[in-house]
C-alpha cells in the first residue's frame, strides 16, 4: 500500500503529467515498432487505461516513463588544456529527466586540472541524484599527449 501511494505521488509530482493530466501519449523505445501508447489518468494521477502497447515490456516501460523517467546524461567538462579543451563525461547511472538541465549547469562550472583516466569520478552525487559524473576517456594532463 505504501509502495503504491509512493508511486502515485511520483506520477502526480511529474510536471508533464499534471500539464496533460487526463491523457498521455508515450512512445515506447523498446523496439523498432515504436508503439504509441495512450494512457489515461484518473484525478488522483493513477493510471486508468493503457492502450496501444503491443507487449508487456512496453507496458512496463510506459508506466516507468510516467512515474519516473530516467536518462543517462552524457556531456563534456572543460579542462585547462588548449589542445584537449573538453573531457567527455557520463552519469554513473541514469538520472531523473528533470535533473538533466540542473546537472548541466553544475558541469559548466567544473575545470579539470590534473590527469584522469576513463572511469574516474569527476563530480560526486551531482544535484543530489546519487549519480557521479565519470570521465569516459583518458587525459594525460596539461601539456601531455591528450
Amino acid at each position: 500500500m505504501r509502495e503504491r501511494s509512493k508511486s502515485l505521488w511520483l506520477i502526480a509530482s511529474s510536471r508533464e503529467v499534471i500539464k496533460v493530466s487526463r491523457r498521455e501519449i508515450v512512445i515506447c523505445i523498446g523496439c523498432p515498432m515504436g508503439c504509441r501508447v495512450t494512457v489515461t489518468l484518473g484525478k488522483d494521477g493513477s493510471v486508468t487505461t493503457l492502450k496501444g502497447a503491443e507487449c508487456r515490456q512496453g507496458q512496463k516501460y510506459v508506466l516507468n516513463e510516467l512515474k519516473n523517467p530516467l536518462r543517462t546524461l552524457t556531456a563534456t567538462v572543460r579542462t585547462v588544456d588548449e589542445d584537449f579543451p573538453l573531457l567527455p563525461v557520463r552519469s554513473s547511472r541514469p538520472v531523473p529527466k528533470t535533473l538533466l538541465q540542473p546537472i548541466m549547469r553544475e558541469t559548466a562550472r567544473i575545470r579539470i586540472k590534473t590527469p584522469v583516466q576513463a572511469g574516474d569520478v569527476v563530480a560526486r552525487n551531482v544535484q543530489g541524484s546519487k549519480a557521479d559524473l565519470l570521465a569516459t576517456t583518458d587525459w594525460s594532463g596539461p601539456g601531455g599527449e591528450g
Partner: protein, 417 residues
C-alpha cells in the same frame, strides 16, 4: 621502395580497428592501419553520447568508451598504425600509394587490403537549397566536432535540416548546452533516425519535428538570419502558401551519409548504386580479389556494433587471403532487392554457409511479410527504412536455392503504411 605487410587497413575508425584486430586474431603477422587524422577512433571521440556497444559488448557505452575498448585491444595485439598518412592511390593490383610528413611518398603492397574509410555527410551543396550563401551552415557532424571536441558553440539558435541520428543527437546536445533548437525539418513523412533518438533527443526537450517539410530559402547576407520552411506534397514539392519563417543563426544539415569510395573507384571496384558502397560477397570481398571492405564504406549502418561486426568479417577474410594468396569467391547466388526493399548486403552469397543479410525497406509499415525467395519468410510487426533489418539464414535453408542464380527479397506490407 615497396614495403611488405600482410594486411593493410585504410581508416582507423570503428571499422578499421575491428578489421585489424580480427585480421591479427586470424593469424596475419603484420597488420597496419593507415589513417589520415592525427589520432585513432575516427568519429568515435566526438560521439560523447551513449548507446554504443549494446549488441557488441551488451553494455551501454559512450563513443569514447567504445573506442578505447578497441584501441586497447589493437595495441595489445600489436597492430601497427600510420597516422597522419593519406592514401592517395589504390590500383587494381592492390598497390597503395601513401604520403605523410615523415616518409614522404611511399608504396605499400600488402597481402590483402581492407577498405574501412567510413562515410561522409551529405553537404548543403548536394541538396540544392535556394537562398543566400551566408556563414553559419554546417553539417551536423561538423557541429558535433566543434561542440564536443574543440569546445565552442557555433551559434545559439538552430534549425536542423534532416532528421538523421546525428542531427537529432545534436539537437539534444545543443539544447543541453543552453542553445535553442527551433525545429528539426524532415522532408519525408517519417523520421530519418532511430525511434529512441526521436524520443530521447526531441520529445524529451520539446523540440519540434516537422515531418513533410523542407527549407525553401536560406536568408542572410553575411551570417544566416533564418530559413523559410514549407510543407511538401506527396511528390516532395513545396506547397505554396505553407511557408513559415524560422529565425536562426545556425543551420545544421543531417540529410544522409554517403559511403566514401574515391579510392575504391580508383581501384576499379564495382560499386552498388543504391548503397553507394562496393558490391561485396558474404566474406566482404569486393569485385577486385584481395580487396575487402567493411563498415560504413559498404553500407551506412544505424549502429556502430554492426560496423564492427561487418569489419571483422572483412578483416578475417583478408587475413586468410594474405595467408593463401586467394580466397574462394562466394558469388554463386546474387541477392536481389525486390518489392519494398531498398538494398540487400551482401550482394552475393555462396549458398553453402550460414549467412547474415543486412537490408533496408523502402517504405515503413505495419505487419510486414519478409520473404527471401521461397526459402524463408519472416513476419515483422513493423518495418522502417531507418531501422536496418538483420536476417540470419542457415546453410540448410539455402540448400534448395543452390541451383538458383539469384534470390529475390521482398517485404510486403499487409497493414498499410
Amino acid at each position: 621502395m615497396v614495403s611488405k605487410v600482410d594486411v593493410a587497413v585504410i581508416g582507423a575508425g570503428p571499422a578499421g580497428l575491428a578489421a585489424a584486430i580480427s585480421a591479427r586474431e586470424r593469424g596475419a603477422e603484420r597488420v597496419i592501419i593507415i589513417e589520415r587524422a592525427e589520432r585513432l577512433g575516427g568519429l568515435l571521440p566526438q560521439c560523447v553520447h551513449n548507446g554504443f556497444g549494446l549488441l557488441y559488448f551488451e553494455k551501454d557505452m559512450t563513443g569514447p568508451e567504445y573506442e578505447k575498448a578497441f584501441v586497447d585491444k589493437a595495441n595489445s595485439l600489436k597492430v601497427e598504425f600510420m597516422l597522419e598518412t593519406m592514401v592517395i592511390d589504390l590500383n587494381e593490383e592492390g598497390m597503395l600509394t601513401v604520403v605523410n610528413r615523415q616518409q614522404g611518398y611511399k608504396k605499400i603492397k600488402p597481402g590483402a587490403i581492407v577498405l574501412a574509410m567510413g562515410c561522409r555527410e551529405r553537404p548543403r551543396g548536394a541538396l540544392g537549397i535556394p537562398g543566400e550563401r551566408p556563414a553559419g551552415i554546417f553539417t551536423a557532424g561538423t557541429c558535433q566536432r566543434f561542440v564536443n571536441v574543440e569546445g565552442f558553440m557555433p551559434g545559439s539558435r538552430y534549425v536542423v535540416l534532416g532528421s538523421g541520428d546525428i542531427g537529432m543527437i545534436m539537437a539534444r546536445r545543443l539544447t543541453l548546452e543552453g542553445a535553442k533548437v527551433e525545429a528539426v525539418v524532415e522532408i519525408m513523412p517519417w523520421p530519418g533516425g532511430l525511434i529512441r533518438n526521436e524520443v530521447q533527443c526531441l520529445h524529451d526537450f520539446g523540440i519540434r519535428l516537422l515531418l513533410e517539410h523542407t527549407i525553401t530559402f536560406i536568408h542572410g547576407k553575411r551570417r544566416i538570419k533564418g530559413v523559410t520552411v514549407a510543407k511538401v506534397d506527396r511528390d516532395l514539392r513545396p506547397i505554396k502558401g505553407t511557408e513559415r519563417f524560422f529565425p536562426c543563426d545556425c543551420l545544421l544539415i543531417s540529410a544522409g551519409l554517403i559511403p566514401e569510395n574515391e579510392l575504391s573507384k580508383k581501384a576499379g571496384i564495382e560499386l552498388d548504386l543504391v548503397t553507394g558502397g562496393p558490391v561485396v560477397d558474404q566474406n566482404r570481398q569486393t569485385s577486385v580479389p584481395g580487396i575487402f571492405a567493411g563498415g560504413n564504406v559498404v553500407q551506412v549502418h544505424d549502429l556502430v556494433d554492426w560496423v564492427s561486426w561487418e569489419a571483422e568479417l572483412a578483416g578475417a577474410a583478408a587475413a586468410s587471403y594474405a595467408d593463401k594468396g586467394k580466397i574462394k569467391r562466394a558469388d554463386q547466388i546474387r541477392m536481389v532487392a525486390g518489392e519494398n526493399i531498398k538494398y540487400v548486403v551482401p550482394q552475393y552469397i555462396s549458398g553453402k554457409d550460414d549467412v547474415t543479410l543486412h537490408l533496408r525497406v523502402s517504405r515503413p509499415g505495419l505487419r510486414a511479410n519478409l520473404k527471401v525467395g521461397n526459402i524463408l519468410s519472416k513476419r515483422f510487426r513493423s518495418v522502417r527504412p531507418s531501422e536496418m533489418i538483420i536476417l540470419d539464414i542457415k546453410a540448410e535453408k539455402l540448400r534448395d536455392a543452390r541451383t538458383l542464380k539469384e534470390l529475390v527479397v521482398d517485404c510486403k506490407l499487409e497493414g498499410g503504411d
